[in-house]
Amino acid sequence: MGSITFIEHHGAEHAVEIETGKSLMQIAMDNGVPGIDADCGGEAACGTCHVIVDGNWISATGKAGDEELQMLDMTPDRAPTSRLACQIIATDAMDGLVAHLPEFQM
C-alpha cells in the first residue's frame, strides 16, 4: 500500500493511503485534508482542488489537460506543476508523491 503526502501552505503534512482509481481530490476529501474544498465534486468546474505537484512527480501524474489549464491559468498561486487534484487519478506509481496546497483556493 502506497501513500501520498499533501503539504498545507503553512507546512502541516498529511500522509494518506493511495486508493488506486480514485482522484487525488477524492482521496484528500476522504481523509479530511484541509485546504481542498472541492466545491464542484470533481467536475473541473470550481478550481478549489488546486495542488502543486512536487518536482519530478509531475511525470507520474501527467500535465494538466487543456480545460484544466484554462482553469488554472488565472489562479494567483499558479506554478508550472499546478494541477486540479480532481483530474489526477491515483495509480500505484504515485507511491511517495508529494503535493503542495496553495495558500488560498480559488
Partner: protein, 424 residues
C-alpha cells in the same frame, strides 16, 4: 459535560458543517439527522452524469462513512418535526427507519438547520399519475432512471437548469424529449435572452422539441401517464414526465419555532438565526450578500458549503464572515456552463465568442460599467477571470470583452486597478 450539536438535514451543507466543526475544534457530540436513507451525497450529478449513467451511485457520497466514524460524527435517519427552543430539544419521528411514528426528544446545545429545499409540485388534473416525476433526491433520480426506455417519449415541464439538464441526459439515453416552458424563453429567470437563445438552439439541434409560452393544464392516462395536455389544447405523448418548476425552502420547522423567516431562514453574516444557539446554512437560508449588497437565498453547492464553514465557526464561538461570490455550474451535452455572480439588474451585455453557431462563448453582464456576472460556456478562463473581477470590484472596459483578439488575461491588465472607493 459534553456538549451536543444537532444538525437537521444531511446533505451538502451538513457534510461541510460536520467537517468544519471538527476542524474548528468542536469537541462535543455531533449528530446529523436526515430523512433520506443515505449519507450526504452529491446532488448535482442527479440530473447530469448520474442520470445519464456515466456516474454510479457509489461515486456520489461526499465523504465515505469511514471519515465520519473517524471524526466521531453520528448520523440518524428520521424526520425532525418540531424544535423547542426554550428547552433546547427537538422532536424526532421515525428515527432509524421506524415506521410506526414513534417520536423521541433530543437535546442540543447548538442546533444547525440545513434543511435545504424541496421541489415545487404541480397540482393539476392527473398530476398524481404514475410516471410523473420530480427531481430533487436520489430516490427521484433512481425512479426516473428506471423508467427510461430508449425510443419512448418523455416530456419535461419547465425550462430551467434542472429541466434542461434532464432533457440532455434523456436525449443521451435515446428518448424522445419534448420540453414545455410556460414563459417566453428558456432560463428566463436567470440569464439574458441571448443565452436563452443559445440553449434553445443547441437543444433543438440535439433533437429536443421545445415549446415556449405554453401552459400545461393536466395529464391523462390509465393509472400511468400517457399524455400531457396543455391549456391551448395541444397534447404531447408521454411515457415519462419530469417536472422541474423550481423549489421551495424548507423553513416550516424554523417558522413554527418562532425564528425569523422571509424567503428562507433569515441569518446574519455569521449564519446565526434570531436564536443565538441556532444557525442555518444552505438552500434554506437567506443572508445578506456583501458583494451584491442585498439579501439573497441561493440554491447552489458552493453557497451551502461556504455558509456551513461560517456557521461552524459561529457554533464554536468565533465570528467569521465571508465575501462569498455566488457561482454555479450546469452540464448539458458537451457544454459546461459556469456562472459567476448574479446578473439581476444588468444594463449592458457583452458577448465574447460565437453564440449563434458555435459551442463556446461568454456573456458578460455589466451594470454602470462594472462587471456583475458572467455566463461562460466552455470558457473556463473567462469564468475564473470574471470571478476575480467581480469579487475584487475591478474596473474594466466592457467593450474590450467582445474583442477576441485581446487575450483573456489582458482584459484585466492594462486597465485601472481596483477602485478602492467604489464600494458595493
Amino acid at each position: 459535560m459534553t456538549r451536543t450539536c444537532l444538525i437537521v438535514g444531511a446533505s451538502h451543507a451538513a457534510a461541510q458543517l460536520t467537517t468544519s466543526l471538527r476542524q474548528e475544534g468542536w469537541e462535543g457530540d455531533i449528530l446529523v439527522i436526515g430523512d433520506e436513507p443515505h449519507m450526504p451525497y452529491q446532488r448535482p450529478p442527479l440530473s447530469k452524469a448520474f442520470l445519464s449513467g456515466e456516474k454510479a451511485a457509489e461515486s456520489l457520497p461526499i465523504r465515505p462513512a469511514a471519515f465520519y466514524q473517524k471524526n466521531d460524527i453520528q448520523f440518524r435517519q428520521g424526520r425532525v418535526t418540531a424544535i423547542n427552543r426554550d428547552q433546547q430539544t427537538l422532536t424526532l419521528v421515525g428515527g432509524d427507519g421506524e415506521k410506526d411514528g414513534k417520536s423521541e426528544q433530543l437535546s442540543y446545545d447548538k442546533l444547525a438547520l440545513c434543511t435545504g429545499a424541496r421541489v415545487r409540485k404541480v397540482e393539476l388534473p392527473g398530476s398524481d399519475l404514475d410516471g410523473i416525476h420530480y427531481l430533487r433526491n436520489m430516490a427521484d433520480a433512481e425512479s426516473i432512471k428506471a423508467s427510461v426506455v430508449e425510443g419512448r417519449h418523455s416530456v419535461i415541464v419547465g425550462g430551467g437548469y434542472i429541466g434542461l439538464e434532464a432533457a440532455a441526459s434523456l436525449r443521451e439515453l435515446g428518448m424522445h424529449v419534448t420540453l414545455l416552458e410556460r414563459g417566453p424563453r428558456l432560463l428566463g429567470r436567470v440569464t439574458a435572452p441571448e443565452v436563452s437563445e443559445f440553449y434553445h438552439r443547441v437543444h433543438t439541434e440535439s433533437g429536443v422539441r421545445i415549446h415556449t409560452n405554453i401552459a400545461v393544464s393536466g395529464f391523462s392516462g390509465n393509472g400511468r401517464v400517457q399524455k400531457v395536455i396543455c391549456a391551448d389544447g395541444a397534447e404531447f405523448p408521454a411515457d415519462l414526465v419530469v417536472v422541474g418548476v423550481g423549489v421551495l425552502p424548507n423553513t416550516e420547522l424554523a417558522e413554527v419555532a418562532g425564528l425569523n423567516v422571509d424567503n428562507g431562514i433569515v441569518v446574519d453574516e455569521h449564519c446565526r438565526t434570531s436564536d443565538q444557539n441556532v444557525v442555518a446554512a444552505g438552500d434554506c437560508a437567506n443572508q445578506f450578500n456583501r458583494v451584491y449588497g442585498c439579501r439573497v437565498r441561493l440554491e447552489s453547492v458552493p453557497n451551502a458549503t461556504e455558509q456551513a464553514r461560517v456557521a461552524a465557526a459561529s457554533i464554536c464561538g468565533e465570528s467569521r464572515t465571508s465575501e462569498f461570490l455566488p457561482w454555479f455550474w450546469s452540464d448539458q451535452y458537451d457544454l459546461k456552463l459556469q456562472i459567476a455572480g448574479l446578473s439581476r439588474g444588468y444594463d449592458q451585455l457583452v458577448i465574447r465568442g460565437d453564440r449563434l453557431t458555435g459551442r463556446s462563448f461568454a456573456a458578460f453582464y455589466f451594470r454602470e460599467g462594472r462587471l456583475i456576472a458572467a455566463d461562460c460556456v466552455n470558457r473556463p478562463q473567462e469564468f475564473v477571470l470574471s470571478k476575480r473581477i467581480i469579487a475584487q470590484n475591478l474596473a474594466v472596459q466592457p467593450d474590450r470583452f467582445a474583442d477576441e483578439s485581446v487575450p483573456v488575461k489582458e482584459l484585466l491588465l492594462a486597465d485601472s486597478p481596483a477602485l478602492a472607493s467604489a464600494g458595493g
